[in-house]
Assembly symmetry: C2
Homo-oligomer: 227 residues x 2
């Protein structure tokens, strides 16, 4: 059984809670566990896994598509308080695609097991609606990623990535390898390295071993995002 | 008021029907109208329109994204019996993106007006779930399109488009201009023309004014889709 604290964290984030019967509430607590994912761990891979609904306590998960040839496209990332439903895609009707989900950093989460969630979806329309509603939110995330991917030029995407990451950590230096950046923005390492080098020559960033420092944030913003 | 026949067509396609009260059922009939869209007509454009939920009787609708620079990416198409929810995106919470919807051919449809649908969503959890569920289906369609777009090479996409269209009409000759094909597969006319010419030289298709005829379907399939 999860702790009192985790129980209230769970209840807070499940909008259908009040529509469950007392016995459904007990069942749900009994089939929810505290889980840990290590940085880099894959927790969902296409149609091979179906562990359940994940509510992140802290850390972050990255959802991505993978082509046969190994091309990797980030769809969205989830953080503390976010719910991941695609990790239970096997029980969601109308989801006919497969994604991959990795922990990007050490992540602590509450896992509601597939079996109980599947049962509750059948028994309770509020649970079914909740899972559809949460999945529709992810649809919006994916459309955003798709717009980036299809409509923005590569230098814009790279600049946006650097600015976003810097805003997220509140720091100018990003500890990413060129390989990782390429993965996140759906490109190749060589292409990222070349463009970063160009940005460096332009005085926008400074490159170092395993990291990129934004040296002129205002210029980086102005160059790409003032129309 | 719509005809008896249209009423039963509507009821058949709304899985929440039996969960409505008699007065909600009457209201829904009263606020549903038979509408006609001409081929080429835009019926939804970003956040500017919000006409309601559309149930297609016959014809087809194309949903697409449009970049500032005019690039056009087809997300999915809907046909007779399909439901279009994004034409009422203003009343769907969690939908934060804008799409465009055109009639591809003359289309007859039943339109459930936004006002009544919005009221029913608030009053009835089954209606809310229905709209979320239908939107999740479209999510799957979009993911399919995204995979095509990002993972398939251009010649594969063009070959798949020709084979799909030919299967749809059950005919070898497709009445599309190169401009239209470019639009549907998210490319430029010049690129399409060049590749079609190459396909023709390879004996896969024959080009004519305003049309493409598949001359060797087996070869077209085998070349691109047997791994």
């Amino acid at each position: 059984m999860i702790s009192q604290e985790d129980q209230s964290f769970l209840v807070q984030h499940l909008s259908f809670w009040e529509h469950l019967t007392p016995s459904q509430q007990t069942l749900l607590f009994e089939h929810t566990h505290l889980v840990h994912f290590s940085a880099g761990q894959t927790l969902h891979s296409g149609d091979k896994d179906c562990i359940g609904i994940i509510l992140i306590k802290n850390g972050s998960l990255r959802t991505y598509m993978l082509s046969e040839k190994g091309k990797d496209i980030t769809l969205y990332r989830l953080f503390g308080g976010d719910l991941c439903t695609l990790s239970a895609s096997c029980i969601l009707n109308h989801i006919t695609f497969d994604v991959h989900i990795d922990a990007e950093e050490d992540t602590e989460a509450l896992l509601i097991h597939t079996s109980i969630f599947s049962q509750l979806i059948k028994e309770n329309i509020y649970v079914e609606n909740f899972s559809n509603k949460t999945t529709v939110e992810r649809f919006s995330d994916v459309m955003w990623a798709m717009e980036q991917m299809l409509f923005m030029s590569f230098d814009e995407r790279l600049a946006l990535f650097l600015l976003d990451e810097s805003a997220k950590c509140g720091c100018p230096t990003l500890k990413f390898t060129h390989e990782q950046i390429a993965k996140y923005i759906g490109s190749a390492r060589e292409v990222v390295s070349r463009m970063l080098k160009y940005f460096e020559q332009e005085g926008l960033v400074k490159l170092s071993r395993g990291g990129v420092t934004i040296t002129d944030k205002a210029a980086l913003k102005q160059r790409f995002f003032t129309h």
